[in-house]
Every structure is written in C-alpha cells, then in structure tokens.
C-alpha cells in the first residue's frame, strides 16, 4: 500500500507561498478530510500528491519515490497508484466518454486484454447507473452529474491505492451523490487511502477517519475526527464553525 509523505514542502505561485514547509504523513488506508479557509492551501496539497503540481521546495515522497522524478517509468508507476477525481470530472473535451475512460485504462492497464477492459468499463457503468449509450458521447453532451460520475469511473477503473477527491458532491443530483458516497465507502472497506475536500462537512465528516486542518499554508492539526472535533485549538474551532455556518 502506498505511503504519502510530505517533507518540508513549500509551494509558491506568483511569488506567494501557498503552502509553507509542510511536513506530515498521510494516514494510510484512511479517509482524511482536508479542511481550511480559502487560500489555506487545501487544494494544493492533493494536487501535489496527484502530480498535478510539483513542490517548489521540499519533496513529496510516494512509496519511497520523489514525485519530482523525471524517470518516465517511475512517474508511470507512481501515477498508476494514485487517482485524482476532479470536481467537474476533468474529462478531455474532444474525446468521447469511452475514450476518456480508456485514457487511464490503456495507459495503466496494458496487461488487460481488450475484452477485460470492456468488461471493466461495463461493470463501472452499471455501478454508477450509466447507460452504455453514454460511451460515444462527448463531455459537452453530458450533465454535470454524469461528467462527475464518468470522472469517478476513469479514476477508479485502474484500481488505485490512493484516491484524491475534490468536491465529490458539488453540483450532483441526490442519486449521484448517493452513488458517489457508496463508492467512497467501498473504497474505505477496501482499505484505500483517500483524501476529500468538500464544503458539505455534514456529509463528509461522518465518513472521515482523519481531518487535516490547514490555515495560511500551514498545518494546524492532523488528527482523528473525534480529536479534531473536540480540539481546543481556536483556529480549528473557527474553521469548523465556518463550515457549519455555510
């Protein structure tokens, strides 16, 4: 199982430090909710893990490999274990649904035969209650819920060890939200390491195992849900309060 470790990681954008010397180890096999105010760096942390961004300083080590490696083989190996689920699905607009799904499937699962790949796609479509007719459609022809679900399928179809989810329930109709939550719970039961960023804390908090509280690019607290909810830390308290005030 993949371990994710931040070691004095800083990230700068336009001269500003978005996160500043972060050091922590992501709890394995657990669901960690990342909380923080806007600009705290809560979106940057999963992106650094997901390889979308590279640290300006320090290193993000995944299974003993630095994410800044330039070795294509190692990059592929790291990425095959991690899936990033975008808030709007992150689908490639000039590819159909099937092509989008196959983007990661063909890249990471070359050991599978064509029929196995097709079977997997079919299974996930059924799981997320999407018709086969959706396969040739372009993302522009899908609803936001459908786009999110297809994004989920693309992420989950490669059987990752780490799943990074950005706003899983945003702009989702209730049925889709239920399906998403089911998937998250299933991931938990499989022992996957997950992170979630979400505005709807009341839905996420009950299923979270750990909470990472960030403020102004620094870690305030990283602890179990119970400990965080009972925390005496004022900033943590205020942040959680902000969530409930929305």
């Amino acid at each position: 199982m993949s371990t994710v470790e931040f070691s004095n990681v800083s990230f700068f954008s336009d001269g500003l430090a978005i996160i500043d010397e972060l050091s922590f180890i992501l709890p394995e096999h657990k669901l960690t909710a990342i909380l923080g105010r806007p600009g705290s760096g809560k979106i940057v942390v999963p992106k650094l893990i997901g390889g979308i961004l590279l640290p300006s300083k320090g290193s993000v080590v995944i299974d003993g490999e630095d994410s800044k490696t330039t070795d294509d083989g190692k990059i592929k190996q790291i990425r095959s274990k991690i899936s990033y689920i975008f808030r709007n699905g992150g689908l490639i607009s000039n590819l159909g649904v099937e092509e989008n799904i196959r983007l990661s499937l063909d890249f990471h699962c070359q050991h599978l035969t064509e029929s196995e790949k097709k079977a997997r796609i079919s299974w996930f479509l059924k799981y997320f209650q999407l018709p086969e007719t959706i396969l040739p459609k372009r993302p522009a022809n899908l609803t936001r819920s459908e786009q999110k679900l297809v994004g989920f399928i693309r992420g989950m179809i490669i059987e990752p060890e780490v799943v990074l989810i950005d706003e899983p329930l945003e702009n989702c109709e209730p049925n889709s939200q239920r399906l998403v939550l089911n998937q998250i719970m299933e991931n938990k039961s499989k022992g996957l390491t997950q992170t979630i960023i979400s505005q709807s804390l009341e839905q996420i908090l009950p299923i979270s195992d750990f909470i990472l509280v960030l403020d102004k690019g620094k870690i305030i607290e990283l602890d179990t849900r119970e400990n965080i909810l009972n925390s005496k830390n004022t900033i943590t308290h205020n942040i959680i309060l902000d969530y409930y005030m929305v």
Binding site: I52, K76, I82, F86, G90, I92, E99, L103, F107, H108
Partner: protein, 262 residues
Amino acid sequence: MINALAQNIGESIVGWVKLQLQFLTFLRQVVVEFMVFYREKQVSYLVLLRQVLFTGYQALSLIVLIAIAIGGLIILEGYTLLENFGQSDLLYGILVAVITRELSSLITAFIIIARSGNAIATELGNMRVNMEIDALKSIGLSPISYLVVPRTIGVVVSLLVLNVYFNVSGLFGGWLVSSWFYPIDFNVFFSKLLAKLTLTDIVISVVKSLLFGFFIAVIASYQGLNVRYATTEVPQRTILAVVQSITVVILINIGIALLFYT
C-alpha cells in the same frame, strides 16, 4: 528619467531573453518526447490520426485549388511572354523554381498556420483553462507527449503530404488549365519538366516541409499551453502563435534558399 528608461529597456531585454529560454526549454522537451513517442503510441495514436485528418485531408481541396490556379497562371503568363522571345522552354525551369522550390512548401505552410496553427493554440489554451491538462498530468500522461508530439507529427506529415499534392496539382493541373489556351503536348510537357527537376529540388522541398511543420506545431502548442488564468488569454495566444509561425517560416525559407542556392 534616463535611469528609468534604461531600467525599462533592461527589463524588456531580460524579459525577452527569459521568454526565448522558456521556449527553448519547451522545444528541448518536445524533441526528447519525440524520441519516446513510440512508447505511448497506443494512447497518442488516435490524436495523431485525427490531427492528420484535420490538418491534411480536410485542407486538400483548398490546396489543390490554389495550386491549380497558380500553376495555370504561371504557364499562361509565362508562355505568352517567353514565346515572344522564342524561349518557351524556359517555362519549365520557372515552373520548377517557383512551384517546387518555393511556393509549394510556403503556401502550404501558410494555409496550415491559418487552419491548424490557429486551432492547436486555441484547443490547448482551452484545455488549460478547463483543467484538462491537469487531468492528463494526474493520469500520468505528459501533456507534451500526449498532446504536443502527436500534433507536431500530424502537422509535419500533413505538410509533407500536402506539399506533394500542391506540386502535382500545380504542375500538371496548371498544364490542364493552360491547355485550353495554349495546347502543349503532355508527353513533351512532362519530359521537359522532368529534365528541369532535380533530386536537390525534391530534397529541399521535403526539408522545408519538415521544418515548417515542426515549428508551426511547436509554436502553436507552446502558446496554447502558456495560457494561465482565463479564457480571454486564449485568442491573444492564438494570434501570437500565428504571427510567430509566419515569421519563423519565412526566416527558415530565406535561410534554406541562402544555403542551397547561393
């Protein structure tokens, strides 16, 4: 005031140099990814096919039309003029020099800049804004390897192929058009044309197409991927891509002419 002016000038120069270095870094990455493209072919193959289809096949009718028009015009005008001096045989040398050596690769490049250079910059810019580039990175696909390289190969192949069709249409289509006014026996036309055509002309035409195609695609991709914040940047980058591509194409053309024909 002079200090401020000097500072401005200095900053401009430094900024310009940084931009060029950035482009050179990007260029280096593209060249490196070119070498390993075969590894990702199962993923990028579709992109490549689609690029050739859009850039090459769909521009074919326009290329053929322009080539026939130019070839016919050269033969009509040239024959009328040269016949007065009894030097109509010079026409074949003119055809080869104008169409094969110069116009075929140049006009094809301009058409591709207008159609595909524009489209590539726009597409990649929008992908950047819609976080599709991030999605590729998250999957582990290098955007250069997945987006830029197949597009570059597609544009290069398209330009080479369109160049061939331009030459064929220009030379023989031109003969066809001019036959209405000045009938020239095809066998005579073909044999005299062949006598004027050399392997050097063909090689130079191919080299030009390769270089033009490469730089058009790389410049367009670079500008598209450099979109940072908003969709309003996309048209700005597109215009920049077109202008820079035209400039580079012309400079390469002059360079090759100086190298081979002086």
